[in-house]
């Protein structure tokens, strides 16, 4: 007797990815609703690393608050220092010596390279490209940048180097030769990396057409940084709203075409080359003179408010400060690019396969220190 095949009953099920998943780069959880292999819905859950930085800053002085910014995007602390300091200087109308401006740009661009190396390395790692090879490869070069930072201020991660009015100390002897050597080696390294990866079949198969973010959606969702430019929007605050000495530097803004994972990866690789161009120019034009304008330890910003932003490796990092004229900020708001970029995660993931979730999240390059604050 022939049995009538009953339709298979299916139902969606829920999977927790994280908070301790290696691909989440910190403590981040995605609650995925799956229909077989396909993602039907996703809820990003975070806050595990919330330290209340904005509240803590209200209890410390203007000068001390620089140290709190180090701990936001801890892979590019120099950029965080700079963004906060720019806002304070805007509020108080402090002029910064030319030499300090150059040193700041050097540090910010080195941070960008270090952060992008880490982003690309861990992204390839998430993709399952051998065991840790790409990451360790990237670490080789990142190490040289950290050595430069250590040489300058004694720290490798939380620098507290860029201060209100300038920087904490002048560049040490031997810094410029070491940096020049690095600038000579780095392009070869990027070329080598591209030889392995640019047209790598597996990489293309995993990345092209995955996690597509259309440009209008990216703008509407306030996405910034390489994720915005990967969608083809030419928007980089270093040129759109130049701060420090960026208006005098020549560099291109790399953009993508399709807004997929591959384009975001390419944008980061190209941005590293552009950062090297910027570094070359700022080293060439580095003037002598003082490295800071003296600001008292008991610095009080005049009553008022200011918003300053810059292009950090992750996107638009902004600080909105309100002062009542006292020793500490009255309000200390951080516009964190990683946090806001997460707003599109759901749109990117719905409809894709589980395995692509990891790659797509990696291509957004979030960092939990900044998301949770």
């Amino acid at each position: 007797m022939k049995e009538e095949a009953a339709p298979i009953k299916t139902e969606t099920f829920m999977v927790n990815m994280g908070p301790q998943h290696p691909s989440t780069h910190g403590v981040f959880r995605m609650r995925l609703s799956l229909d077989g292999e396909v993602v039907v819905d996703v809820e990003p859950i975070f806050g595990y690393l919330h330290r209340g930085v904005e509240k803590l800053a209200e209890g410390r002085t203007w000068v001390q608050d620089v140290t709190l910014t180090d701990r936001l995007d801890y892979l590019a602390s120099m950029s965080n220092n700079l963004a906060y300091v720019l806002a304070v200087e805007k509020l108080a109308g402090i002029a910064v010596p030319e030499r300090a401006e150059h040193i700041r740009v050097i540090m910010a661009e080195l941070s960008r390279i270090a952060s992008h190396l880490m982003a690309v390395g861990s992204f390839l790692n998430d993709m399952g490209a051998a065991t840790f090879t790409p990451l360790i490869y990237m670490f080789q070069e990142r190490e040289k940048i950290l050595d430069l930072f250590e040489m300058t201020c004694g720290q490798r991660m939380t620098f507290n180097y860029i201060r209100i009015g300038g920087v904490s100390c002048d560049l040490p002897e031997g810094f410029i030769p070491a940096l020049t050597r690095f600038l000579g080696e780095m392009p070869r390294f990027i070329d080598e990396y591209d030889t392995y990866l640019e047209d790598n079949e597996i990489l293309l198969a995993r990345c092209v057409g995955v996690g597509v973010l259309p440009p209008d959606k990216a703008i509407n969702a306030s996405v910034s940084g390489p994720s915005l430019r990967g969608s083809g929007v030419r928007w980089d605050l270093r040129q759109a709203d130049p701060y420090s000495i960026y208006d005098r530097l020549k560099f291109d803004i790399p953009t993508g075409k399709n807004g997929d994972v591959y384009d975001r990866y390419r944008v980061r690789m190209e941005e590293m080359r552009q950062s090297l161009r910027i570094l070359g120019q700022s080293v060439r034009d580095l003037p002598g003179g003082d490295y800071r304008t003296k600001v008292p330890v008991t610095f009080r910003a005049p009553a008022g408010e200011a918003y300053a932003h810059l292009e950090s490796p992750k996107g638009e990092l902004g600080f909105y400060l309100v002062s009542d004229g006292s020793l500490s900020p009255y309000r200390f708001k951080i516009r964190a690019p990683s946090f806001i970029n997460l707003g599109v995660l759901r749109d990117l993931l719905i409809g894709c396969k589980v395995a692509d979730c990891v790659v797509t999240l990696g291509s957004l390059d979030i960092i939990m220190g900044e998301v949770d604050r």
Partner: protein, 149 residues
């Protein structure tokens, strides 16, 4: 350089919404809470203003009132505007949500709700984002006192 368009925006709002007071604050404008949504829509849709990018939303606690601050940018024209809304009092504070205009408002409004206790009506998912659901109080308020349980 991104230009600030406070003056221009204040004039245009006055033309478009007669009788509605859009005060010019230092480097920004202040609009009444009840017309926030229509003014925001106007700022976004008007081709000359085209503030298409909602950069940041934040709130400041001034004890007798709260100020919610919107930083808007136009990627099309490269200009920016700071828009403020004042909310008197401390209890049951609410503003219309801008998520229908900018998706980018979603997480940021949730953050303001979580840490400052200002709810956004019309938001599709108005719940805490950084702190857990059972948390009492809103820590960025000036009168918040932390009592470890």
């Amino acid at each position: 350089m991104t230009r600030d368009i406070s003056q221009n925006a204040a004039q245009r709002i006055a033309q478009r919404f007669p009788g509605l007071a859009a005060e010019a604050a230092p480097a920004g404008i202040v609009v009444p809470a009840e017309s926030l949504l229509e003014i925001a829509a106007f700022l976004k849709e008007n081709p000359d203003l085209a503030l298409d990018y909602l950069a940041a939303i934040t709130a400041v606690d001034y004890l007798d009132h709260f100020e919610v601050v919107y930083h808007m940018t136009s990627i099309t024209h490269n200009h920016s505007l700071m828009l403020k809304v004042r909310l008197p009092g401390r209890e049951n504070l609410a503003l219309p949500s801008l998520t229908s205009l900018w998706q980018g408002a979603d997480l940021q409004e949730r953050e303001v709700y979580d840490l400052m206790g200002i709810a956004f009506s019309g938001h599709p998912n108005m719940k805490r984002v950084l702190l857990w659901d059972g948390f009492q109080g809103h820590p960025l308020r000036k009168d918040f006192i932390y009592e470890p349980s």
